[in-house]
């Protein structure tokens, strides 16, 4: 064990953040493209161009989502248990929507009938829209606290079932967070389409990026003000040793207005995150306007990283605050796996992630180049 437990707990908070940002950059792009598909593709061939612009890569990109789920299970089993069972109805909506994507991509162009193809196009739209929206809504609820509590055996109990569990999730602040995540993923998808397609599809994508980019900036600013003045954050009052065995019931917590901003005075450097959020998205808008989508894509990736990091940093050290029993909240210090498991998983990531990134990069470079209507026509039996 080269790294002590406290350090590893902190590193795993960063690693889960990296996986979530990786998901937004890779699979978020495909979800954005899915949402844009029915609107930016006016003809069947244009739609095939849009689909094939992400076709070779969407499946690998989706693994960021799956791996983030698996990593939360391995590194923060308490969070995996409480959040996924608590957000049960929302998770089902996400899953049912995600089902449309693997089959949509592969099946859509295997039958000529326009009704068949149109139905799958809307399936891909739903498969992008619902997860993109719900993930934001979930973050919006994390920031407000979630109605769960742990009993003496650390079993998690969530308030409500079916609609009484689902509807409270869809509150105004959470919906604003949902709009941020949906619109930022769509902007990111539109950046990709500007790179990989030709006019008129790329021109339409450009207009979307400029318009929705401004929506992201306004909504992000609005959410910041809301967090400062409108909702309670949470603060740890008494904290057991940081390297103690994980026991979420050993600390005490209070809810407090403005607590989510305390990190920015305690660690001033963390202001970089929201700045990156604003600057990245603004740059993506500007670079779209001057038709430099390659740099613009990097800018929107940076912007999303900044926005996700802002949410994570504001809540630090909380991961899943409890609104009905704040002491049950799960934090970076009391939700993780054992020292041994965190060590094993740390080395697994250190060894495997660079490998993943390098062969992913190889795949992107091999498939590089504009996807065109002519290309779809000549490769009709191969392309999606």
């Amino acid at each position: 064990m080269i790294l002590d437990y406290e350090t590893l707990k902190f590193i795993w908070w960063i690693l889960i953040g990296v996986l979530l940002i990786g998901f937004a950059i890779a699979d978020g792009m495909d979800m954005g493209v899915g949402v844009l598909l029915p609107f930016l593709g006016k003809t069947d061939e244009e739609r095939r161009v849009i689909i094939n612009a992400v076709g070779p890569h969407w499946d690998g990109n989706q693994v960021w989502l799956i791996t983030a789920g698996g990593a939360i299970f391995a590194a923060w089993p308490a969070v995996y248990a409480a959040a996924f069972s608590g957000f049960y109805m929302a998770m089902l909506l996400v899953l049912f929507a995600l089902f449309f994507r693997p089959v949509g991509f592969d099946y859509r162009s295997k039958v000529e009938d326009p009704r068949w193809r149109n139905a799958w196009d809307w399936g891909l739209f739903v498969g992008g829209l619902v997860p993109a929206l719900i993930f934001g809504v979930a973050f919006g609820n994390l920031l407000q606290g979630v109605p769960f509590q742990l009993d003496e055996f650390l079993r998690s109990h969530y308030q409500g079932s079916l609609l009484t569990a689902l509807l409270p999730l869809l509150n105004p602040f959470a919906l604003l967070a949902g709009i941020i995540s949906l619109s930022m993923l769509v902007v990111h998808g539109a950046m990709w389409l500007q790179i990989r397609t030709e006019a008129p599809v790329s021109d339409r994508a450009r207009s979307v990026a400029i318009g929705l980019g401004l929506v992201v900036i306004l909504a992000f600013a609005g959410a910041g003000l809301w967090v400062a003045y409108g909702i309670d954050g949470y603060r740890v009052v008494t904290q057991p040793a940081f390297d103690a065995p994980s026991n979420p019931l050993a600390k005490t917590v209070v809810a407090e207005r403005g607590a989510w901003l305390s990190i920015y005075s305690a660690v001033p450097a963390s202001i970089i995150a929201p700045i990156a959020g604003f600057a990245g998205i603004l740059l993506a808008v500007l670079l779209s306007a001057v038709r430099r989508p390659g740099l613009g894509f990097i800018a929107s990736a940076l912007g999303m990283a900044g926005i996700i990091a802002t949410a994570g940093l504001s809540m630090f050290p909380f991961i899943l605050p409890s609104s009905i029993d704040p002491n049950s909240s799960l934090t970076v210090w009391d939700a993780p796996s054992s020292h041994f498991t965190l060590t094993v998983m740390f080395w697994a990531v250190v060894l495997l992630l660079p490998l993943v990134l390098s062969y992913t990069a190889w795949c992107y470079t091999r498939m590089w180049g504009k996807v065109t209507v002519d290309g779809i026509r000549t490769g009709s039996h191969t392309a999606y």
Partner: protein, 525 residues
């Protein structure tokens, strides 16, 4: 208290989603290696028919793969959504192989599969072959990691319970990884997948031969599948995972239930071919036995004993009594009591804590359990015998039939008379469902036979659930079954459409039904 309906619904949902998922997985495992073999033949011989084979079987592979991915998403999240206490209780151990599966296997498989379908014109021949190889490797690695996780559920090695965190924690990664139960299960399961891939190609190629179309294409595909299938079915049978049934108490109990061994017989025990097991009276009626066979298969020796159900119940009752001690000590430790005496007492009994938890079904406080409750809990440690006895024999029967079909296929392929063996070709078409029947019954035996445990000897299934309501589960179970059934119907529709089209779906102009092809000209004339 425990709501039996809710527990039952949770189990049904996991069983339904997992068994649906495993309709698609085995074909991926087997077909992916066959695609690699076909493409290797193309790279080595430059004969375009091998490229067409790779692409055509690859299309069918893709239709199957898409639903495999869709239904697989559920599995990654379902432990958290529906088995939340399980996730908390064993995530420290069980989560690791799942996360590594994502990092090592899913990324590999899914990153390259897009290039397999769409990269034919953008990659060199060798590059594309490498892409096919990595796709196959990725899907097989994923099987390995999930079976490491599953093997740990059957035989939880390399871990210990911590009263401070109220969960199981990993103590040795290599013990979890090299868990002998996991190793045996991995070999058995992937080999079953290879048989599925082989039977799929054999049956469809046989149908083309019966129709007299695309003979060269079909015969070449058939030959590869026959050879690959022979090696695979031999592996499934010879490396059958019965050898893993001597390891760990849960596996021993499962073996006794599968074989309806109510009594412990002197070694080597006989194998019951047929019987009507009666759990109430704990006897077999109308049984037909083969002497020695069970002892030899299960213990790989003439002296190893197979413990019978009645003796297992007696042993388990002892462990439940010890589990009560463990539970009592745990409660005191959780309440803050400290000292060498209490720690020593907990350490002495803690491997039986899971047995103590079985009593939660009958009494919330465990320590006040009556002798009747203890007896009932001990009885609960044996899964229902009849369903296991029957499904296991179905699996074996399917395996034996496939062994003969594949052997005959290989024999007549080598004699070069396969096209004339119409009886065999017809039998292959009709027996296409067999590998799926074998896979599904095999999983049923493995997991139903694990009951009443979610994690063997550690966590009872009824405690492993989330804190949801039956209403939640009725909604989600209905949703999953509806959604999956629609997906399955669409998948079968496309499968049949593309099987009927055959290699003509590639648009090369070389195959049955295409204009320019002699058969089409003949039909037109």
């Amino acid at each position: 208290m425990i709501d039996p309906l809710f527990v039952e619904l949770s189990r049904w949902q996991f069983a339904a989603t997992a068994m649906y998922h495993f309709l698609f997985v085995p074909l991926t495992l087997g077909l992916s290696w066959m695609l690699f073999m076909m493409e290797s033949a193309y790279v080595l011989t430059d004969n375009p028919v091998y490229r067409d084979m790779t692409r055509f079987w690859g299309k069918l592979f893709g239709i199957n793969f898409a639903v495999g991915v869709a239904t697989g998403l559920t599995m990654e999240f379902e432990f958290g959504t529906n088995w939340a206490y399980y996730s908390h209780y064993v995530g420290d151990v069980f989560g690791a192989p799942l996360a590594i599966e994502g990092l090592m296997a899913f990324f590999l498989e899914s990153t390259f599969i897009g290039l397999f379908f769409l990269g034919w014109d953008k990659l060199t021949k060798r590059q594309h072959l490498a892409v096919t190889f990595f796709t196959a490797l990725g899907s097989n690695l994923s099987a390995m990691w999930i079976l490491v996780a599953n093997g740990w559920m059957q035989n939880p090695v390399g871990s210990a319970f911590s009263h401070e965190t109220m969960r199981m924690e990993m103590t040795s990664f290599s013990e979890v990884l090299f868990n002998p139960v996991a190793q045996v299960k991995f070999v058995h399961t992937v080999a079953a997948g290879y048989v599925t891939g082989a039977m799929f190609v054999l049956a469809i190629s046989a149908w083309y031969m019966l129709k007299g179309r695309d003979l060269g294409f079909a015969k070449r595909s058939f030959a590869i599948a026959a050879g690959f299938g022979m090696a695979s079915i031999l592996s499934v049978i010879v490396l059958g995972d019965e050898s893993g049934y001597t390891l760990g108490d849960v596996q021993k109990t499962k073996l006794a239930a599968i074989e309806a061994e109510y009594d412990t017989h002197p070694a080597p025990a006989g194998l019951t071919l047929f019987s009507i097991p009666d759990d109430q009276a704990m006897t077999n009626r109308y049984e037909i036995k083969v002497p020695w066979a069970l002892g030899l298969i299960a213990t790989r020796s003439t002296t190893g004993q197979v413990t019978g159900i009645k003796d297992l119940i007696v042993q388990h009752e002892e462990r439940i009594r010890s589990g009560i001690e463990a539970y009592d000590a745990l409660q005191r430790l959780r309440a803050g009591e400290r000292g060498d005496e209490i720690s020593a007492r907990f350490d002495l009994h803690k491997t039986d804590l899971g047995y103590g938890l079985l009593l939660k079904k009958y009494t919330a406080s465990v320590v006040d359990a009556t002798p009747e409750q203890i007896a009932m809990a001990a009885r609960d440690t044996i899964p229902p015998v009849a369903p296991l006895f029957v499904t296991f024999r179905l699996m074996v029967l399917a395996g034996v039939v496939m062994f003969f079909l594949i052997s005959a296929s290989l024999y007549f392929t080598m004699r070069r008379t396969i096209v004339r063996q119409r009886w065999l070709l017809k039998a292959l078409v009709w027996c296409l469902p067999l590998p799926w029947i074998a896979c599904e019954t095999g999983w049923f035996v493995a997991e139903f036979g694990r009951q009443p445990w979610a994690i063997g000897e550690v966590l009872p299934t009824f405690l492993a659930t989330s804190s949801l309501t039956s209403g939640d589960l009725i909604f989600s179970l209905t949703g999953f079954i509806t959604f999956y059934t629609v997906l399955l119907v669409i998948e079968l529709f496309l499968m049949i459409k593309y099987i009927r089209l055959g290699p003509a779906s590639l648009g090369t102009g070389r195959y049955h039904g295409e204009s320019g092809h002699p058969a089409a000209a003949h039909a037109a004339g």
